[in-house]
């Protein structure tokens, strides 16, 4: 086995880095060249000289942070070369534009999964199985207690939750990019036909999604001084950051819920302080991670983002897959 210095991709200062191409993946500090897997802020930082991403990710990023960044785009599957390394983006099913990134150098394949899910989601391209020698995978939900229900079931639960309390205003907290639009798409297919409002940050992303041809239900941007009667029985989508603090005082007679994979655990649900939790996630569950590891045919696997101890031990013991640790 080689030492970690010889790996094509390694951890450097807490970030994934390919030395041969002098390129960083989702770096958390300004660098010269950054590959961006998707447009969530925890995968993006200002100040890089050059960004490279898919076309959709670039559009969403510019919508969020302004046009003032230099960003080069490629289609899914389109190969480009940096210092002799072949690089390509492949759909990861996390949100619109999200991608896995494959590196090929001297016939050796590396795959960075990015954030991914296998579940059906009509607001982005389905996860593509990509074969590789080395896999670097996220494992946010790397325990077998995490098993997602079909998203239409969750959407129906949400619809029932709202319609069962017609006298209340239902506030559903969710991430503004990706989760919100996926929920809107799913809720659009349920029996719920009341009004849906969304917070400015979500509203902006909704418009971008529509412009990119994604079918999501119409929403009204929430104004600060809405009449209470008008909001009765309707659904309001808000980012989680507004759940604590004075913003909620704008509403009367509310019920609150949080849409997140963590809500499948009762203790976390109770502690979160929301009335209700809907367990829906844009990350893979346990079975999803195992499926990707197996189908990628990777002989060597690394994990990042999450507690990977149990998952690694399981793969080594049960599946005889070589799980490696990054020197961080």
């Amino acid at each position: 086995m080689r030492t970690k210095q010889e790996y094509l991709i390694k951890y450097k200062d807490g970030n994934l880095y390919c030395e041969l191409a002098d390129i960083w993946i989702d770096p958390s500090k300004p660098v010269k060249k950054a590959l961006i897997t998707h447009a969530h802020f925890d995968h993006f930082t200002f100040g890089c000289e050059e960004y490279i991403s898919t076309k959709e990710t670039a559009i969403l990023l510019k919508e969020r942070v302004g046009d003032n960044i230099k960003i080069k785009t490629f289609e899914y599957g389109e190969e480009f070369k940096i210092n002799g390394i072949n690089i390509s983006f492949h759909p990861s099913g996390h949100i619109l534009g999200s991608s896995q990134i494959r590196f090929i150098f001297a016939e050796e394949k590396w795959l960075i999964s990015g954030d991914f899910k296998l579940q059906k989601d009509q607001t982005c391209k389905q996860y593509e199985i990509v074969k590789t020698d080395y896999l670097i995978s996220e494992c946010t939900f790397g325990l077998p207690i995490f098993k997602w229900d079909e998203s239409n079931k969750i959407a129906n639960d949400i619809s029932k939750w709202i319609t069962n309390s017609p006298e209340k205003t239902s506030l559903l907290f969710c991430y503004s990019l990706g989760k919100a639009q996926r929920l809107l798409n799913e809720i659009g297919q349920t029996n719920f036909n009341g009004n849906i409002y969304s917070h400015g940050s979500i509203h902006k992303m909704n418009n971008s999604y529509r412009e990119l041809g994604i079918d999501i239900k119409d929403t009204i941007k929430i104004e600060n001084k809405k009449k209470i009667d008008e909001l009765k029985g309707s659904l309001i989508l808000l980012p989680p950051s507004l759940s604590k603090g004075s913003y909620l005082k704008n509403f009367k007679n509310i019920q609150t819920a949080f849409a997140s994979g963590w809500m499948s655990i009762r203790a976390l649900r109770k502690r979160s302080g929301y009335d209700k939790g809907f367990a829906i996630s844009d990350h893979a569950d346990w079975d999803g991670i195992l499926e990707v590891v197996k189908k990628s045919e990777a002989k060597n696997v690394f994990f990042h983002h999450g507690d990977s101890e149990a998952l690694s031990k399981y793969l080594v013991e049960k599946e005889s897959i070589n799980v490696l640790l990054f020197g961080k």
Binding site: L143, K147, I265, R266, R271, D275
Partner: protein
Amino acid sequence: MSLKKFSKLFGDLDSINSTNNKIEVLKNYFLSNDPIDNSWAIYLLTGKSNKRFISGRYLKNLFSQIYEYPQWLIDTCYLKVGDSAEVITLLLKNKTNSRKKKLSNISLNELLSETIPYLSKLNEKEKNLEIKNLWETLPEDNHLIFNKILTGTYRVGVSIGLITKSISKLINIEEEIISHRLMGNFKPSIDSYEFLINKNINLQELNSKPFPFLLANTIEDKIFKNSINDFQFEWKYDGIRMQLIKRSGNVSLWTRGQELVNESFPELVEKMSHIKDDFVLDGELLVWNFKEQIAFDFSLLQKRINRKSPTRSIQIKYPIIFIAYDLLEINGRDIREIKLENRRIELEKYFSKWQIKTENNISDIFKICDLIFPKDWPDALTYKEKSRENNTEGLIIKKKTSIYSSGRKKGIWWKYKVDPMQLDAVLIYAKGGSGRRAGLYTDYSFALWKDNELIKFASAYSGLTNIEIKELDKWIRKNTIEKFGPVRSLKPEMVFEISFEKIQISKRHKSGIAVRFPRITKWRKDKKINDADSLENAYELMKKIS
């Protein structure tokens, strides 16, 4: 009614935070289900059934065995979830989609009066097979309830008080009456439910009702301007506040939380029923050290509180006493409007009469509180400081001319508590919590300096806010030196102010001292570990007290 509906009730109660809404949900549930299932629901939700058919450990082993699942993986999941029944429910998801016909309409009654009793008749092998079979035939959304019934673990934030309130709303009858009806050996049956919702109240039920309690306020400086002679002084006991009622020959014990606790203290009920007069007494229940004539620690009382029908040996091991400090009603005459000093005279008069006239000796379980007579306010302060010696928490100061009103009324009763003892200590170990705190490191151990070594001296898990807990949890994960199972040893860096009630020599601890009720009172981010206290400081504190 099906088990499904009960599962739904459980889920609804779990996702509602407002008490009023919970009551509404319960009320509707009772209205739309038949009496037998309602009575089972009450039985389960109030924790009347503490029965555990199998342990959480057994459940986890069984799952591991049936589905060839590594035990360590289940244990890792448990750390995140904090409840065996829930872990297994989550792991069972999508595992049991065999083509077996589903038992979708099994009723709560059927499950509890037939299926589960049948399980306990089987030998281990048959039992395991049967549980597996039930897992595969019960619809998935009933698994949690089923596993919880098996392991006897209910915590849905539904107290007996909530059930009482919802039945009280349902039939429009006062809560105290319902409380009384719910008391005792509640056997689920159509009759027991019909009795519970009977709209006719009988006399005996009316007779058991307590008065609203009068509560003490924290001491205010302005009291010291008054003459010391205006007040009555008592020790503040650290027990359970209680009204002891005897009317028409029946004794009832009511806690301040409107709970009837006759069953936990049968010896007191029995003794008091020998007194000829009827009365309502206000006082404190304690576990009593008869040799030294002081109260034992509250921790011993805890051994009695949650135990119904205690055995004779428990009664001897933890002997209780009721210390009365007020008389509110005597032979049907409500005397709450009489001045405290006169009520005290009545209390003393009747107590000495009862001591002489009652057939069985009552003074081994019942007495009236001693009064203290400080000559001035500085003297009162001296008494207060001495209160640790007799295991009390300080003083209660009552205005002699006051009447017994209700609630935390100002200017009538004050509590004058001893200050807690405090040391600054270094966090050295953390352990994962369970239940609501699962997945977070919430149980902490703290150390003091001995020369250049940090020696563990106390463990605490209360006192931090939820935000602080999360922050500390993050820090713990980043600063772990070593893991031993659920425990992590930590880089010594964080200093906390630990408060406690008592400090004494203990040979069982490496530090040589033991403290009572340790709790975190401040996260001393301003202090470095070298600023933390030493064991020597702790010994000095001990000397100062004794």
